[in-house]
Amino acid sequence: MFLTVTISLIRGLGEAMKLFGFTLLFSLPIGLIIAFGAMNKWAPFSRFVSKESKLYGFRPISAFINFLVWIIRGTPLMLQLIVIYYGPGIWFDNNIWGNGGRMTACVIAFVINYSCYFSVIYRGGIEGVPVGQTEAGLVLGMTKSQIFFKVTLLQMIKRIVPPMSNEIITLVKDTSIARIIAISELIKAGESFMKSDGITWPLFYTAVFYLLIVGILTLLFSYAERKLSYFR
């Protein structure tokens, strides 16, 4: 029995890790793009209206991105997942996800959700680096990209490691939400034994897997923090 459960749970873990990996792969870079969008200073109306007008200084790109981030962060991931997976089939009579598209739909929902969370973390990291650092680079004749890569990037990374580690650990456990569209991730795998065999220990066994993964991540992040502790 133990072996059967173990094999089943490892399969569940595989699904969970697939979701985890793809979500990180896409949402880490997309989050950065969203962060830049949210900080975009483009204010097209400033040319046409007077300084007293409310439109002066209105930043449409930034406002739009902030609105999206509000929607995504303000509603449950589970709701977003259900809408993305079942929505097209019901509204357009066309299940674009087809057979075996559950994981794709799930990754897309997770990427959208996590990109928004990451964008806020990136933004904090970028804005947290004092303006003086950029100005010091400017007066030394550096280009904007040199300032970003040689001066601010590492300081930004140092700032985002702790909140990032928090969010990524949450992602490990959020993979369990995938079961809502019938992906056999870890918890679904464990729970199935409760239904078929009336045993609960596989559920506790799933916890061991989560703890293991989170343990490894914790070690990785504390390593990164140590590596970056040589400066302040």
């Binding site: 007066v139 030394l140 550096m142």
Partner: protein, 260 residues
């Protein structure tokens, strides 16, 4: 010919005029101190010179060459602004050293990046980098910090950090070195070491503009003093003229607040 000529420099923020048409010039080897109460526009002058702010009006010339002209509406390329900036060095009130680099690396970084734009860089890479390193080591020893080369900024005292920042600005051999209240963020005990370094630069006839609240220092070190009040130059002259014999009542009033 003056190293620096500034004509009718004007700058407003949100409708309030911070600089109301400044005219001044600077000769080679001169040390000009700018004094005045906070909000008088001292820092804005330096920020305009270093292209950290764009003046609304005015012309700036370095060695006779126009580096900024507000009436010229053609958009300047980034590389042109960058080149013009390099006429000036800037030492910030709160140092702004790069925390992830050692003292020596802070001094070398900009020079190394600029060297990459030299046409002979790939052929002479090793020599160029050695030259930059040797220059940086020399500057550190001038600052009395030879033994701190491998320290990171957070391992240095404020006074030491500011001296590294001075070396960093000097490394690019600017025509004019600007100091924005270089000792205001320091404990009184640490200001002396920074002021001594600036004094030694003045003795070597480094062309400098210094914003300072240290009146005695300004008296000692400057060849000329400028009193800025509400965005205008109220009075300028030799240190003796300004400090011992100010013409304007407002200057007297300002200076007397330092004698309490």
């Amino acid at each position: 010919m003056s190293v620096l000529e500034v004509k009718n420099l004007r700058k407003s923020y949100n409708g309030s005029e911070v600089l109301k048409g400044l005219d001044f010039s600077l000769e080679k080897g001169e040390a000009l101190s700018i004094i005045g109460s906070s909000g008088s526009g001292k820092t804005t002058v330096l920020r305009c010179l270093n292209f950290l702010e764009t003046p609304d009006e005015g012309i700036m010339k370095v060695n006779g060459k126009t580096v900024f002209d507000a009436s010229d509406k053609t958009k300047k390329s980034d590389s042109e602004i960058r080149r013009n900036r390099l006429h000036f060095g800037y030492v910030f009130q709160n140092f702004n050293l790069f925390p992830q680099y050692t003292a020596l690396e802070n001094i070398k970084l900009a020079g190394e990046l600029l060297a990459k734009e030299r046409p002979d860089y790939s052929a002479n890479r090793k020599n160029i980098l050695e030259e930059i390193e040797a220059n940086a080591i020399d500057l550190l020893s001038q600052m009395g910090l030879s033994d701190r080369a491998d320290h990171y900024p957070h391992q240095l005292s404020g006074g030491q950090q500011q001296r590294v920042a001075i070396a960093r600005a000097l490394a690019l051999s600017p025509d004019i070195l600007c100091f924005d209240e270089p000792t205001s963020a320091l404990d009184p005990e640490l200001t002396g070491e920074v002021l001594r370094v600036i004094k030694s630069l003045a003795d070597k006839h480094t062309t400098m503009i210094i914003i300072t609240h240290e009146m005695k220092f300004a008296h000692d070190v400057s060849s000329r003093v400028m009193f800025l009040d509400h965005g205008s130059i109220l009075e300028q002259g030799t240190p003796d003229e300004i400090f011992l014999n100010p013409k304007e009542e407002r200057t007297r009033q300002f200076l007397s607040s330092y004698q309490k």
